[in-house]
């Protein structure tokens, strides 16, 4: 097993399950989960510390300690035996803390410390199993009385306590069980004057626990009762207990009787056969009663199947049947002492042939009923029930007479593996076969029949809609073969070996589920190791080992070729793929199958092609789309594989291959639904791969291929477009070899570009044009067309941002590849530059939000390419213009866009010869790591640019958009940057910044820019002190106020916008009260008091109160009026139809505005 190291726990220690990063890099494809392979030293020390410190620990920490302990142990839950070295010491420490005697009569029963120790022990029991932990608990007889009385106290305690202290009581019950195992007559503990014996006391105390709701305590309680009854002095109580139990089940009615059932199971297992045997009939009748009543519960069914098994085992004496198959002599001492081989074979002959027949010849009818029930449970819907039933069948058959056992096997083979049966029946059957085999109950003469069944089970699938059941059947088939490898001699398996080996290899390589591939691999290993005789067994074993098969893609593309190096396995691999994988129900598996065929075709072209011709070609004639999809994928990949080794295919077949897309066109056109999509996907993949094969192709066929590519590129689903783009790249390249075809194709595409019915069509056409080979000339018409598309001249297509993004990308690619002559280029260069500038400012929005980002993103990349390619001709102004735009993008809201912008800037800065680059060093430093720009906090790092001349406006623009956005973290970092800059800025710098900002509200794109600005203003204004001291000097402030008044006076203004305006101007109330700005602001805010929206009224009242409180002369009456008025509600109607707030607003207006003017006047 591989070693997986666990990271040392950090201070909090919550990350134990992460692998060390190194390990992951090395072979990450092998890692599915992470299982520890050994007990980590730090964990060991921590567990030891906890167990020793419980004694001294502060009581407040108990819960924390318990959680931590649980967490530590749960790491090892999958392989708890790793904990073994720790267990004796831990259990000793914990159990010695428990103080059972001190608290007699105390309401809490046990002190906190003892309770904690018991809880921790319970955790250990849960993880490692009670059987192991029990062994280490102190078992001196003097513990018995205190434990019993402690448990009794729990029983007597209030109901609330009874249900919550389950863990402690469970631990105590297990403890009592081990103490009860003492070889000591319990009657000696009983004083003469006591009414009830200790044993009775225990039973009385435990019984109520069986009727609590289903929990772990049932198992502990039942185990304890069984232990008591199994004792010599307890056996006379057996009848009483069973009667009691049966009565309970009868009265329970519809309530599920878990506790009682578990008790019965424990009694059947632990009480000596002779003692329990007389009651078996009663038990079985109650079991069948339960079966009728509660069989709908899978857990009950599982217990019932266990009960059936144990009843039979009580009925049948445990003889080891002589007829049992034994693989040779497996006793070491006999092999050592009798070196004479002939004697051994003689012995064997005796054992298997002549030995006295043993085993129950005529079992009771009850046993037969049980077997019948178990056979039925083998077909159960629930996995756990099937497993339990299979185990039962195995153990019972072991004790039966040879003929009866043979009967069971043949019934199993006859009934469970019909082709009409579901997966459950097959799974149960396989499990039972496996159990029988490794117990020796499946004699070699049954092997032939069983083998044919198992072969089918290895590839079993039960299709259900677009899915299939059956991975468990395939897994169980591996289980059967695995037990065969352990049970039989090579001579017995010889005739099946070859088929078994190939079957397992196919399963290990090509199964859909990782667990089945691994199981097949483990089985193959067992087969090679124990049976041998498999050709190249060891080599194959190392190839398809447990870890190698975990990556499916690797299995299909690499491992299968490696296996096929052993030529005898090739036919089996090909057959398996063709029969089960080409038409697999899972699309991904069909794709994988293609990969496998490509690799195999490269290695064995002749063999693969022969099979494809024979089997896959006919599939294309089927009308079933998934089958055609699989066949097309397989065919396409095989052809690519063949062409890579220059395998010659007959010319008439090549022709057939080439016209295939045209032949299938009617089907594509008739299927408009999902099926049609699948077919188009497959066809586009097909033509893409075929165009790599260099087949001779004429214009007509090329057009039919292009048709497929076009329809995929112009699809509305992204997955199909992606496939189409891939195909376009390869298919369009063929234009090089087909003369005269290019103009037709281009014209065709131009038509689509000009008059598309859907946005995707235009995008698709752009993407196809992007791939035109260099040799195909481009007209300036096409460039013009692109330019008109990008500049959004058509109103109806305004929202088609995706298509514009495609156009930008395409135009950039075409310009890069085409060799225009210098005159032509000079003419169009300027035009293209301007178009890209327009694209950089594309802020189209729709229901999905800022969709212009696609265009801007592509435009940034296109511009970068252009700048770098045109270093000589580009002017200084142009460079600055571009750089400013991109810098603005690098400070905006969308992380991915910032990242792209930063990458572009970094690329531009590489070419030092560009004219007009300023502050290159600073820019290089700021944009050194474009990856970081995905994080919002990078916005803060951009603040140095705010004071650098050509870039300050753009960066301010970007930061304000980010700061005024609705995403909180983004806004926080952007605001932080702005604030810090303004705090340190000089007066003139601050004024300049204001001037830039005010343009936002005057620009035509107003709401997109003005809303963020308004959001930011309320925090920015107080940071420019000179504006507040001399507000009347600034025209910007006046502009803002005018704008706000305009917004607020609009009767249809939204309350959100109104509040934004209010907040934005409220800092101006802190300015000089005599200034006209102050008065203007006051007028606006007071007018808001009579706004129809309650929220706005409240906000303005609040703002006013705040402002009035900070004034030199505080007008208490006014403040009282502001705070007492109900601005919220519609208010009570007063005289004259006025509401309360309307009157108040009027009065405030009178006093603040009118009064003020009068005083001034």
């Amino acid at each position: 097993m591989r070693e997986l190291l666990l990271i040392e726990p950090g201070p909090n220690g919550f990350e134990e399950k992460i692998e060390s990063p190194q390990q992951m890099d090395e072979d990450e494809d092998g890692v599915i989960g992470c299982l520890p392979s050994h007990l980590q030293t730090s964990h060991r020390i921590e567990i030891q510390n906890i167990s020793t410190n419980v004694r001294f620990e502060d009581e407040k920490n108990f819960e924390k300690v318990q959680e931590r302990f649980k967490k530590l142990l749960e790491i090892y839950a999958e392989q708890p035996s790793l904990l073994d070295p720790l267990i004796p010491e831990t259990v000793f420490n914990l159990s010695s803390v428990v103080n059972l005697t001190a608290n007699d009569g105390h309401p809490k029963i046990l002190d906190e410390r003892s309770a904690l120790a018991l809880m921790l022990l319970f955790t250990l029991i849960k993880i490692r199993g009670y059987k192991t932990i029990m062994k280490f608990l102190p078992r001196e007889i003097h513990h018995l009385k205190p434990i019993v009385s402690c448990l009794e106290q729990y029983g007597n305690a209030s109901p609330a306590l009874q249900s919550c202290r389950i863990c402690e009581r469970t631990t105590l019950l297990y403890w009592l069980t081990i103490v009860c195992m003492n070889p000591f007559d319990l009657r000696r503990l009983d004083a003469n004057d006591q009414e009830t014996s200790t044993l009775k006391r225990i039973l009385i105390m435990v019984k109520p626990l069986l009727s609590v709701t289903h929990s772990t305590i049932h198992f502990a309680a039942a185990r304890l009762i069984a232990e008591c009854i199994a004792r010599a002095e307890g056996q006379h109580l057996c009848k009483e207990v069973i009667d009691d139990c049966i009565a309970k089940i009868c009265t329970n009615g519809q309530k599920e009787s878990f506790g009682e059932l578990i008790l019965i199971l424990n009694l059947l297992k632990h009480v000596p056969r002779q003692v329990i045997a007389p009651f078996v009939n009663e038990i079985s009748s109650i079991v069948s009663l339960l079966f009728e009543k509660q069989k709908s519960n899978p857990l009950i069914r599982k217990y019932l199947s266990k009960a059936a098994r144990r009843i039979s085992l009580v009925m049948l004496s445990p003889t080891l049947c002589q007829w049992r198959y034994q693989r040779g002599r497996r006793k070491l001492e006999e092999n050592i002492t009798n070196n004479d081989m002939s004697r051994i074979s003689e012995l064997e002959a005796n054992m298997t042939q002549e030995g006295p027949e043993q085993g129950e010849a005529a079992p009771d009818s009850l046993v037969q009923r049980c077997i019948g029930l178990l056979m039925q449970f083998l077909n159960d819907n629930d996995t756990a029930v099937r497993w339990s039933a299979a185990k039962g069948i195995g153990r019972i058959t072991e004790r039966l007479h040879r003929e009866l056992a043979a009967q069971i096997v043949s019934t199993l083979l006859k009934n469970n593996f019909l082709s009409t049966n579901g997966y459950a029946s097959w799974h149960g059957g396989c499990l039972a076969l496996a159990e029988l085999s490794w117990r020796g109950a499946l004699l070699p003469e049954h092997l032939t029949a069983a083998f044919s069944v198992i072969q089918n089970a290895l590839t079993f699938e039960e299709k259900v809609g677009r899915f299939a059941w059956g991975s468990c059947v395939r897994d169980a088939a591996c289980f059967v073969l695995w037990s065969w490898a352990r049970a039989y001699r090579r001579e017995d398996l010889q005739q099946y070996l070859e088929k078994t080996a190939t079957g397992l290899i196919c399963c290990a390589l090509f199964d859909r589920e990782i667990s089945v591939r691994r199981a097949a691999s483990a089985t193959f290993q067992e087969l090679v190791g124990r049976v041998g005789g498999i050709s190249h067994g060891i080599e194959l074993l190392t190839l398809v080992d447990y870890f190698a098969v975990s990556n499916r893609r690797k299995c299909f593309s690499l491992l299968c070729v490696a296996v096929s190096e052993f030529y005898e396995y090739l036919p089996a691999l090909l057959d398996h793929l063709i029969e089960f994988k080409v038409c697999h129900w899972d699309e991904k598996m069909r794709v994988m199958c293609g990969l496998a065929f490509e690799s195999l075709a490269t290695r064995y072209p002749r063999e693969t092609w022969a099979r494809i011709l024979r089997t896959v070609f006919p599939l294309l004639k089927k009308a079933h789309v998934p089958v055609m999809h699989g066949a097309l994928f397989t065919l396409a990949h095989t052809l690519r594989g063949l062409s890579s080794v220059n395998f010659q295919i007959e010319s008439h077949i090549v022709k057939e291959l080439i016209i295939l897309p045209r032949a299938l066109q009617p089907q594509v056109n008739s299927n408009k639904n999902l099926q049609g999509e699948l077919l188009r996907l497959a066809l586009s993949h097909y033509v893409a791969l075929l165009s790599e094969c260099n087949f001779p192709i004429d214009a007509e066929e090329f057009n039919s291929w292009m048709y497929i590519v076009e329809s995929c590129c112009c699809d509305e689903k992204e997955a199909i477009r992606l496939a189409g783009n891939e195909a376009a790249e390869k298919v369009v390249g063929l234009l090089r070899n087909i003369p005269n075809c290019a103009p037709i194709v281009i014209n065709n595409l131009i038509r689509v570009l000009k008059e598309p019915s859907r946005e995707w069509q235009r995008g698709g056409a752009c993407q196809i044009l992007e791939n035109l080979p260099i040799s195909v000339p481009i007209h300036s018409d096409l460039i013009d067309l692109f330019c008109t598309i990008i500049t959004r001249s058509v109103k109806a297509e305004e929202k088609w941002a995706f298509a514009r993004a495609c156009a930008v990308k395409s135009l950039s690619q075409i310009c890069k590849r085409q060799r225009f002559n210098s005159e032509e280029w000079a003419m169009i260069k300027k035009k293209i530059f301007n178009v890209f500038m327009v694209a950089l400012d594309d802020y189209t929005e729709d229901a999905r939000g800022d969709i212009g980002r696609f265009v801007r993103c592509e435009a940034m990349k296109a511009m970068t390419t252009m700048l770098c390619d045109e270093k000589e001709t580009i002017t200084k102004d142009e460079v600055t213009q571009v750089l400013c735009q991109i810098i603005q993008q690098s400070a905006e809201k969308i992380g991915r866009l910032r990242e792209t912008a930063a990458t572009c800037i970094k690329t531009i800065l590489v070419s030092t010869t560009l004219p007009g680059l300023n502050n290159v060093d600073l820019l290089r430093e700021l944009y050194a790591c474009p990856d970081l720009f995905i994080y919002d906090k990078q916005l803060y790092s951009l603040r140095p640019l705010l004071s650098i001349k050509p870039y300050s406006a753009s960066i301010l623009h970007g930061l304000v958009l980010s700061a005024g956005g609705i995403s909180e973290v983004t806004a926080q970092f952007a605001l932080q940057a702005l604030h810090e800059y303004l705090d340190s800025a000089t007066e003139s710098e601050a004024e300049e910044a204001m001037a830039i900002l005010v343009k936002f509200i005057q620009s035509p794109a107003s709401p997109r820019l003005s809303l963020p600005l308004l959001r930011v203003l309320s925090t920015i204004l107080p940071r420019i002190p000179h504006l507040l001291t001399h507000p009347d000097r600034s025209t910007e402030i006046l502009n803002i106020l005018t704008y706000c008044r305009k917004v607020l006076s609009n009767p249809r203004v939204s309350p959100v916008n109104a509040r934004l305006c209010l907040n934005a101007i409220s800092p101006l109330l802190l300015s000089e009260p005599r200034s006209s700005t102050w008065k203007f602001t006051m007028t606006i805010i007071v007018s808001c008091l009579s706004c129809p929206y309650p929220a706005v009224r409240c906000a303005s009242a609040e703002t006013l109160t705040e402002a009035l409180c900070t004034m030199e002369i505080v007008d208490d009456e006014l403040i009282g009026l502001l705070s007492d008025t109900q601005w919220q509600g519609s208010g009570t109607m007063a005289k004259g139809g006025e509401t309360e707030w309307q009157r108040a607003a009027l009065e405030i207006h009178q006093r603040l505005i009118v009064g003020d003017t009068r005083a001034d006047g």
């Binding site: 073994d84 062994k135 070889p183 000591f184 445990p318 080891l320 169980a476």
Partner: protein, 177 residues
């Protein structure tokens, strides 16, 4: 749940072996157990309950269940039979009077169906004392031939020569499994 779970469980289970150590009282069961564990044997007292000890042996975990041998305790022995892989029957070789009883008790045990398939090791203890009964005689006395157990002559001798003991102990255990 699948084959891989089965394999993992088997691996864990294959490493655990349960050994039951029985014999008449004063046969030296606890001493033998302590010797296996390498513990001090100078202060061994009669066992009135039972001991469970775990010792690692060639990658196996041996769980030794040592149960007291007093007459009153013998009826409880059957409580320990479950899933026992090996039974070590310790004989006091010097106790000539009770040799017959010892054989009878062992005979009873061998009738037990729950011990079916478990390996038996008859451990002739105290062979270093001169008056001890010879191993061959014990074998004859016990009529073990029909049970197909390991030949007696190679059984370990518990005496003063501890090194010899440990080595033969190793051999004997190996034979058990």
């Amino acid at each position: 749940m699948g084959l891989l779970t089965v394999i993992r469980k088997m691996r864990a289970k294959e490493r655990e072996i349960r050994i039951l150590i029985l014999g008449l009282d004063n046969a030296g069961k606890t001493t033998v157990t302590k010797k296996f564990l390498g513990e001090d044997t100078s202060k061994v007292e009669p066992t009135f309950g039972f001991n469970i000890e775990t010792v690692e042996f060639q990658n196996f975990n041996l769980n030794l269940w040592d149960v007291g041998g007093q007459r009153s305790l013998r009826s409880y022995w059957k409580n320990y039979f479950e899933q026992t892989e090996a039974l070590v029957w310790v004989v006091d070789s010097t106790d000539r009077e009770r040799l017959q009883m010892c054989a009878e008790e062992l005979g009873k045990l061998l009738q037990e169906e729950r011990l079916l398939g478990a390996t038996l090791l008859v451990f002739a203890n105290k062979q270093d004392i001169r008056s001890a009964v010879k191993c061959e005689d014990i074998a004859k006395n016990f009529e073990l031939g029909r049970y197909q157990v390991a030949p007696l002559e190679n059984l370990p001798v518990l005496g003063n020569n501890w090194r010899k003991f440990t080595r033969s102990d190793d051999m004997a255990l190996r034979r058990c499994f």
